[in-house]
Subunit: 189 residues, 2 copies
DNA sequence: AAACAAAACTAACAATTGTTAGTTTGATAC
DNA sequence: GTATCAAACTAACAATTGTTAGTTTTGTTT
């Protein structure tokens, strides 16, 4: 076992509860009950409720930031880049669907420093996405629809994957990727 | 002024706050401050915090239910039906973007009866949507991608319109509809 | 079996929560 | 000017919140 093992168990349990009811509606006593211990015992492992939230969200946001930077700086064409973004979202969703609920719905409850850090990463992510689409449009690799609408509709689908995928267990991950790419990109390319 | 005018002002203010922080994180004192009065004074107009939430959500859910029923029972072809669904979402979003935040993120905080009622309406809405896509597929009016993925990606875009549209004031509502239809449907049709 | 650390516990706190009861204000109708 | 009524107020409540301090239990290493 790693030294952080118990802490990670708490964070995982918290992510599930946050997904079901949202950060504010989950009490430390709720979390403790889910762990089978008393609320005060949680504090042997974590510093605060806030620390749990920021651990969940910032880690995921950094994953997206790193993934997006690799894609932007690659020399592939626009369609391939968009496919890689879809890939990135599916991969992260498969690995941590619960945590993505917090990232999507509870980021505003981060405290000052982490809130700013998060908003900066999200802004840069969206800017990178937009740039890819814009350049694709200039090169004629993409149909001339409104850029904002293309970015928005694609991103909103990818962002809500976490809600949907865990229920679709029969769909293979590779089939998901293929059809998702078709549905999201063939209307655009 | 209508007799419910003051109550409606409170509900509108609440919808804005719920959108920003979520139902659980908004206190009655927050809401009172936004209205420029004391928390206790709110209860001259409303019965409970819960009543505010259910008024916002159930009203919108019923709007969607009525709209969808009209579309399903019409004799238009599949693509036209899907266009009408996009229309419906854009119309409701333009009229009540704030309330849609609660419908999307805070429905689980409805109390027992309204929660069941809401979940039933949402289930039927999704079933109707799926049926339209399935029949379109059988008639060959739609490309043969995975039905669930098509339904999911379209619906998740439409459901998050509320997040995005209020910031895009320069885009005309008719242009939005046209491009949204293009992006969402041309990849599918 | 003695020592140690990890992880649980009990008890309590100060602050905040939704809500109530009863009272005062201010405008409109007579 | 007095009665009326909606809509504000003050004061308080019981419950719940995140968190702390100090103590006991548990399991492993010597």
């Amino acid at each position: 076992m790693r030294p952080e093992s118990r802490k990670q168990e708490i964070i995982n349990a918290a992510a599930i509860l946050f997904k079901e009811k949202g950060y504010s509606a989950v009490t430390m006593r709720d979390l403790a009950k889910a762990m089978g211990i008393k609320a005060a015992s949680l504090y042997n492992h974590i510093q605060s409720k806030q620390e749990i939230l920021s651990t969940i969200i910032i880690g995921l946001a950094e994953e997206f930031t790193i993934g997006m930077n690799k894609i932007v700086n690659s020399d592939e064409n626009t369609i391939q880049k968009l496919e890689n973004i879809i890939d990135l979202h599916i991969d992260v969703t498969l690995r941590n669907a619960d945590g993505l609920a917090s990232l999507n719905n509870d980021w505003m409850h981060l405290e000052e420093n982490n809130l700013q850090y998060f908003e900066k990463m999200r802004q840069e992510y969206e800017d990178n996405f937009r740039d890819i689409v814009k350049k694709g449009l200039e090169k004629g690799e993409i149909k001339p629809y409104n850029v904002e609408i293309m970015v928005f509709s694609t991103l909103s689908t990818l962002r809500t994957l976490y809600l949907w995928y865990p229920e679709q267990k029969e769909i293979d991950s590779d089939i998901l990727k293929r059809d998702m790419i078709s549905v999201l990109l063939k209307g655009v390319a």
